[in-house]
Amino acid sequence: MVPFPGNLKESPSQTAGPYVHIGCTPNAVGIGGPYGEDAGARLVNDKTKGDRISITGRVIDGANAPLRDAMIEIWQADADGLFNSPLEKRGAADTNFRGWGRQAADGESGQFRFETVMPGQVPFAADRMQAPHAQFWIVARGINLGLHTRMYFPDEADANAADPVLQRIEPRWRVATLIASGARPNYTFDIRLQGENETVFFDV
């Protein structure tokens, strides 16, 4: 064991800054170097189970401009609703689905894109199910602490209505900020940091 007292404080966050890509997605921004492939670049392969979907979107600031330097990560269950994590105790997740992806926003348009699969449903607590969703984490210059949000699917209206997380959101119109647009297999999810239709962000 290491000689540390308990009751430590979490290391405080700082912004990822404008050059986060050097460390996290060097190949995506043309730096190259020692990594064969950027971590999180691909979620699926030929053997991944489930319905393929794409999620494209932008992160948009309080002046309605897309962030061209954001980095976006997603974490989601596989097609059967299982997470590819050693802490998943309900069963074995699809070994051909990582569940985690990471993309840099395009340096010109600010657009990001994930190729993934439709997530299955995951329980919340006491046997209540959550609607299918992907968790998002957003960092960028000007963001001091990474922002957590969730994307839900517009073609899952019944499940969304019963979702225990969405049910907590007040005022109710804000629920719509977490529902992607489009239809299977191509969804669009714009994340608005501030102002009109500001996306709901979570303290998880």
Binding site: F4, P5, L8, K9, E10, S11, P12, S13, Q14, T15, A16, G17, Y19, V20, H21, I22, G23, C24, V29, G33, Y35, A39, G40, D61, G62, A63, A65, L67, D69, W75, Q76, A77, S85, P86, L87, E88, G107, V122, F124, A125, H133, Q135, V139, A140, R141, G142, I143, N144, L145, G146, V165, R168, R174, G195, E198, V200, F201, F202, D203, V204
Partner: protein, 243 residues
């Protein structure tokens, strides 16, 4: 090693920087104006991705060699940067991915959007990654980065710093931050550092000169321990009256 899947302690959002910190100008338009919605930990928060040793190249944690041309070395102060990743319960966080990135010794980043006039070092990329060992330890070899000017106030300079990204075992532990170097007079002047209000929190990001891990006639050493959120005991979870 056994791993606990319990819920995380809530984040102390007064310890972390606030989203809206106008002394750091870019935060003005990039900070939510509405309150965060607090949630209990769900399965998607208490689980997270794992990374295998097979993704880590032999030189990935050696920034002195991982971008250098054969037979050449980067210019600057050679340092070893090491520490533990632990959680708030002081439990080691084993086999988790730690990524770092930084400017070169002159304060120039290898990024097409960095237009600072200090030159690139042809033998320095400025990024590395490693997995912590079974005791949560990580270790890098690099060049101490230089300070650099940035367009915030008219004459702001960042202190020497290295960015770091850590995963932990649950997605809600995800953390990106920056480490500073003991004794740097730019630390107290920096608007980004000063988005953190508690001096003890700033101290927690300040790597200490570690003479015992220096290599004589070769490299200085700095140590920083990284603390991620701790997990509650699960022994009373899911009791009927609690839901």
């Amino acid at each position: 090693m056994t791993q606990d899947a319990g819920a995380f302690f809530p984040r102390d959002l007064a310890w972390h920087p606030k989203a809206y910190a106008p002394e750091y100008k870019t935060s003005v338009l990039r900070s939510p104006s509405r309150a965060l919605v607090s949630l209990p930990s769900t399965l998607g928060d208490t689980t997270g991705p794992v990374f295998g040793q097979n993704m880590i190249g032999e030189l990935d944690n050696d920034l002195i060699l991982n971008f250098a041309r054969p037979g050449e070395l980067p210019i600057g102060e050679r340092i070893i940067l090491h520490g533990h990743v632990i959680d708030e319960n002081a439990k080691p966080v084993p086999r988790t991915l730690v990524e770092i990135w930084q400017a070169n010794s002159g304060g120039r980043y290898r990024h097409k959007k960095d237009g600072y006039l200090a030159p690139l070092d042809p033998n320095f990329g400025g990024f590395g990654r490693t997995l912590t060992d079974d005791d949560g330890r990580f270790r890098f070899r690099t060049i101490k980065p230089g300070p650099y000017p940035w367009p915030n106030n008219a004459n702001d300079w960042r202190p020497s710093h290295i960015h770091f990204s850590v995963f932990g075992s649950g997605f809600a532990q995800r953390l990106i931050s920056q480490l500073y170097f003991e004794g740097d007079p730019h630390i107290r002047l920096c608007p980004i550092v000063n988005t953190i209000k508690d001096p003890a929190a700033i101290e927690q990001l300040t790597a200490k000169l570690d003479m015992n891990n220096t290599i004589p006639m070769d490299a200085r050493a700095y140590r920083l321990d990284i603390v991620l959120r701790g997990r509650r005991s699960t022994m009373f979870e899911n009791r009927p009256e609690g839901n």
